[in-house]
């Protein structure tokens, strides 16, 4: 195949798949959130449009499309309009480095892992500009908060991606999937997987880290002034598109990518993505929101040191046992996960008690009214 033809084919594939993934996510996920969280909190959720409410997303889409596109009078209009588009670059580009099945990757880069992380910069930039351009203090605060959070949690995210890269010995996502032929990395590095999930929730501004949109403090954060299709862009395409990218990355790094019983194909990958997305929704329905100070402390004082220790020990084991490092790494990782889970209860209870004593001296744990 000539160079030019292959370039055109790749370009078209990149555009089609890159646009399809966020678009499908924007249609499926918001609806799934509403129905599933409705189910979890013993409500119905939207069930009027079409059978079991299945056409609700389309109705929502049409409504957003028909709404007037308003920009605040004092907003910086150019940036206000540009910001959603900048943020949208991330999901469109990041899809192109994900391997969907054996030999099917739109852009088979040998440094795909780094690119996935690098592309996430655009969303950060878009959110920051949206917050600034809106000329609204809630927007600005929401934007700044969101960006501080995303930048902070990007560090543990990258550290754990590096752990996987070390286990594989390559930065290519195809090699990552290839290395999981015998065992998925979730079984080798459950600790990294846990941190990946937690940091991912924060990166995506999802519960319990959805402070940027904390409606009780910030109205709707950087989204406050957005309406109509621009709101749809941000809320649907960017946020849920990024959720899909995160799930695709997680499935590729930890759950064996397109591998599965019978034959490896994109179906398995989509199934794994749906499982991870379900986890996101589950968290949404289960967890309360953190406070700002807790959020930052958790990133810098817990996740990053934990990831650094994990990185250091894994690296050491790889150097010491270059031929059979997977069992000891798995042993270490599982041991630390179990330790953390066992310790979590007592430590949290103590911290809670200390806090309650500080707020309301005299009360003891278990005797307070709430």
């Amino acid at each position: 195949m000539s160079w030019g033809l292959s370039f055109v084919i790749h370009l078209i594939a990149a555009l089609v798949i890159g646009l399809a993934v966020p678009a499908l996510s924007a249609l499926v996920f918001p609806f799934a959130v509403r129905r599933l969280s409705g189910f979890m909190s013993d409500r119905l959720g939207p069930n009027r449009v079409g059978p079991a409410g299945f056409f609700q997303p389309i109705a929502d889409f049409l409504k957003l499309l028909l709404k007037e596109d308003v920009a605040p009078l004092k907003a910086d209009r150019r940036l206000f309009r540009l910001a959603p588009a900048i943020a949208f670059i991330t999901p469109v580009l990041a899809v192109s480095v994900i391997p969907f099945s054996k030999g099917f990757t739109i852009a088979n880069l040998n440094v795909g892992l780094v690119f996935i992380v690098a592309f996430s910069s655009f969303t950060v930039l878009g959110i920051l500009l949206a917050g600034w351009a809106s000329h609204n203090k809630y927007s600005l605060l929401g934007g700044l908060r969101s960006v501080a959070q995303m930048v902070s949690y990007e560090i543990p995210m990258i550290l754990n991606i590096i752990i996987i890269a070390m286990l594989v010995g390559s930065l290519s996502l195809n090699d990552v999937v290839g290395a999981q032929g015998k065992i998925w990395f979730i079984a080798v590095q459950p600790l990294a997987f846990l941190v990946f999930i937690v940091a991912g929730m924060a990166e995506l501004n999802r519960t319990p880290f959805d402070l940027p949109e904390a409606e009780s403090e910030l109205v709707a954060g950087y989204l406050t002034e957005y309406s109509g299709m621009r709101f749809g862009f941000f809320y649907g395409l960017v946020e849920w598109g990024n959720a899909s990218i995160w799930a695709l990355t997680g499935a590729t790094l930890f759950l064996g990518g397109w591998r599965g019983p019978f034959a490896g194909n994109p179906g398995w990958l989509i199934l794994k993505v749906l499982v991870l997305a379900f986890a996101v929704i589950w968290f949404f329905a289960t967890f309360p929101r953190l406070q700002v100070d807790q959020l930052m402390n958790f990133a810098w004082k817990v996740l990053i040191p934990l990831s650094l220790v994990n990185l250091g020990v894994t690296g050491l084991l790889i150097i010491l046992l270059p031929n059979s490092f997977l069992p000891p790494v798995a042993a270490f990782s599982w041991a630390s996960v179990i330790t953390i889970i066992l310790l979590m209860g007592p430590v949290l209870r103590k911290a809670l008690l200390r806090k309650r004593l500080k707020l309301n001296p005299g009360t003891e744990l278990g005797t307070s009214q709430s």
């Binding site: 160079w3 440094v111 780094v114 690119f115 690098a118 920051l128 600034w132 960006v147 930048v151 990007e154």
Partner: protein
Amino acid sequence: MHFSTPIFYLVSALVIIPAVLMVAMRNLIYSAIAMIACFIGVAAVFVTLNAELLAASQLLIYVGAISILILFAIMLTRRRSGAICLFFHRQSWAALPAGAALAVVLGIVLGSARFSAGSAPKNPSTANLASLLFNQYAFPFELASLVLLVAIVGAVLLAMRERRS
């Protein structure tokens, strides 16, 4: 003409036009955005040179971290009207001909120059890069960590509230 030539000019424009805009813009936020565009252009230059890791690092570090922090600093310190300021405005008339003359001289000389560093490998693999960085250039690489340390110390020294003594 090789097919890469027009791509090269396109990518160079992606670097140069935002760079000029960055200096010329009066609104700091716009300047910062132009700078980000310039960084993205540089990443594109790396891509055309098959240096994909460098391109990704450029995006990750310059667009994802440095520019964001700069924007953060501007937004937190400036009043939002985007203080309009242009440094050295009286000197710009003298700077223009001087800069133009330098550009012409550099253009003429470097345009016709023969460089021998083109013998570098065409496809710098990540492994090659790593072995260069951690073997031949290990010392400057480690020394760079001291530069970063000094930068951190400096940030604390200049920005931290006075200690209670």
